[in-house]
Symmetry: C2
Subunit: 336 residues, 2 copies
């Protein structure tokens, strides 16, 4: 492994993080469950398939329009479980607090977690609290881990995309990343950009009811839609073509991205799911998405192709094609 020092971009969700995970974690913890590299692992206990996942949250600032680190920590873990088609049941929460954090802020965060958990129908069953001296952490970090139950017959994985599949998303892209970044940098637009952070388990249950044969579900968090689709293209050995004119981006998010020189395709989302669906099920899944409050702005944004395996291309408005690579470097640190 690299003899050097850890760099910020090794936590970005992009290329550098994937290299760190491959060279160190997957090889050290060598086992087929981890090597699957989905958002959650599928484990089996006495014949019952469960999904298990973990995420640490270090978002800065801890309060942002549309949520805070606490609600985000619940949504994120609920979503990671949901991306396998699992029904999330139980989560744990581990807090690392910086000495001097306002107790009122901690209370607000915990209350938001509790509300998010209630709304998503999961129970927080175990917790842990550490306090470190001032300057040894930044306000608070939260880890949430979770388990859920995987219904029989569901087989959703980043390895399952097949040529001919359609690529759907449940709404606009880049909202979370730009909400956090604008708040952090004190950028004021006419309307405050709101994070899309939300628990997607209800939406996904509806989509699976409509068509249980969905191939891939993945939430485009760190690294955004571009990086997530690159992962899927790599793991499935397929090409993915996006249609530029179909990509849904809010006007204010696009404006902020242009101002800051960011591409919304690489900006994090926390309430979005990319669904890759065989053509025969795509209409049913799309209708199910549209019928749910979190899927009203659903779009068909691309298709899976057999050429250029491992790569993602954007078909531009004028009919050209441009390579959409995985995120390189750190676009937005501490976005989740």
């Amino acid at each position: 492994m690299d003899p050097g020092l850890i760099q910020l971009d090794q936590g970005s969700g992009g290329r550098a993080m994937h290299e760190l995970i491959d060279t160190l974690f997957v090889s050290a913890f060598n086992n087929p469950l981890l090597a699957e590299r989905n958002d959650s692992a599928v484990i089996e206990i006495r014949g019952e398939r469960l999904a298990m996942t973990t995420d640490s949250y270090v978002v800065d600032p801890i309060f942002f329009p549309g949520g805070n680190i606490g609600s985000l920590a619940v949504h994120g873990t609920v979503n990671d479980l949901s991306m396998l088609g699992a029904k999330p049941l139980y989560i744990t929460s581990g807090f690392i607090l910086e000495e001097g954090l306002a107790c009122g802020d901690l209370e607000k965060v915990v209350m938001s977690m509790a509300q998010a958990a209630r709304e998503a129908g999961v129970l927080v069953v175990a917790g842990d609290t550490k306090v470190v001296p001032r300057g040894k952490a930044d306000k608070l970090f939260i880890n949430t881990s979770g388990i859920g139950i995987l219904p029989p017959g569901i087989d959703i994985s980043g390895r399952n995309a097949r040529p001919g599949d359609q690529v759907l998303i449940n709404g606009t892209i880049g909202d979370h990343g730009m909400a956090v970044l604008c708040k952090r940098e004190g950028l004021a637009f006419e309307n405050e950009i709101q994070s899309d952070a939300a628990s997607l388990n209800g939406l996904i249950a509806l989509m699976l009811d409509a068509f249980a044969g969905i191939h891939v579900l993945r939430d485009p968090t760190r690294g955004g839609v571009a990086t997530t689709l690159n992962e899927i293209a790599e793991h499935s050995g397929v090409g993915i073509r996006l249609f530029e004119e179909a990509l849904p981006v809010r006007g204010d998010v696009l404006g902020a991205c242009e101002l800051l020189g960011l591409d919304p395709l690489y900006v994090a989302n926390e309430g979005k799911v990319l669904a890759i669906v065989p053509a025969q099920g795509a209409d049913a899944v799309f209708s199910a998405m549209k019928s749910h409050p979190l899927g009203r702005a659903a779009c068909r944004i691309g298709e899976v192709v057999s050429n250029d395996p491992g790569r993602v291309f954007l078909r531009t408005r004028i009919g050209g094609h441009r390579l959409v690579d995985m995120l390189r470097g750190e676009q937005l640190p501490r976005i989740c």
Copy 2:
């Protein structure tokens, strides 16, 4: 809740942390599983009882005699599951890395985790990595969460201690806390004090094979033996009497404690289990402990009594009795 600021002692494992947990977490996440307040929660999935737990590790320094933050993170979570009598199966690991951490240090830590997991027979199935800018964390923090399976018929809980039960421990107390503290403060004794950090699932399986009716198992980590026994006394509504002459403390640990004005009863352990066992099973459990490499120095250190419910007393060498309260204030920050 307190309108003030978070204090170091709210993460100490002692009184202040218990108040924080009671007033905030247990009430916000209001559910009977969390309210049980054991090291792990017992959850039920399709009739199967599982144990689930989480812990974040912020130990400073990250390398200490007898282990490092990585091996500790595995041992700690394996032990929390084992303390319910569960067989630990799967764990997750969430890393928060400070930009600039030496990659070689991370590699050593991860390799130690992998080895500890192999030795304990658990699989690391999911992970997460975040990187925060320099000065926003201290080298690295690790969260490990885990699940295990609870054999039928086992009912171990901090609420189960009964008058007449014996209090056993598998070896010397205070080793981990003093190893970390001496390393951190650069205190050199003739021999370096070694942490006792170890996975106890093998030992505990043996103890349960010998006598399945063990009432309480608890690992005396933050806050030490004194705080852990106070928790048990409170939750079970019983008194606990310790015998001073029976408390096993290594000479070097005692020396370091005396030098620093610390009481080994309050110093953290990471490879110790307190077992509270009905008298009829105590000999069998004690023999099983003695037969295991991690229990060779096992001792009977006390008994459960009906008077003074919720309190722990020490019967001193000269026959007096002194109240052993829960830890107040922060004795040793960042010990795990």
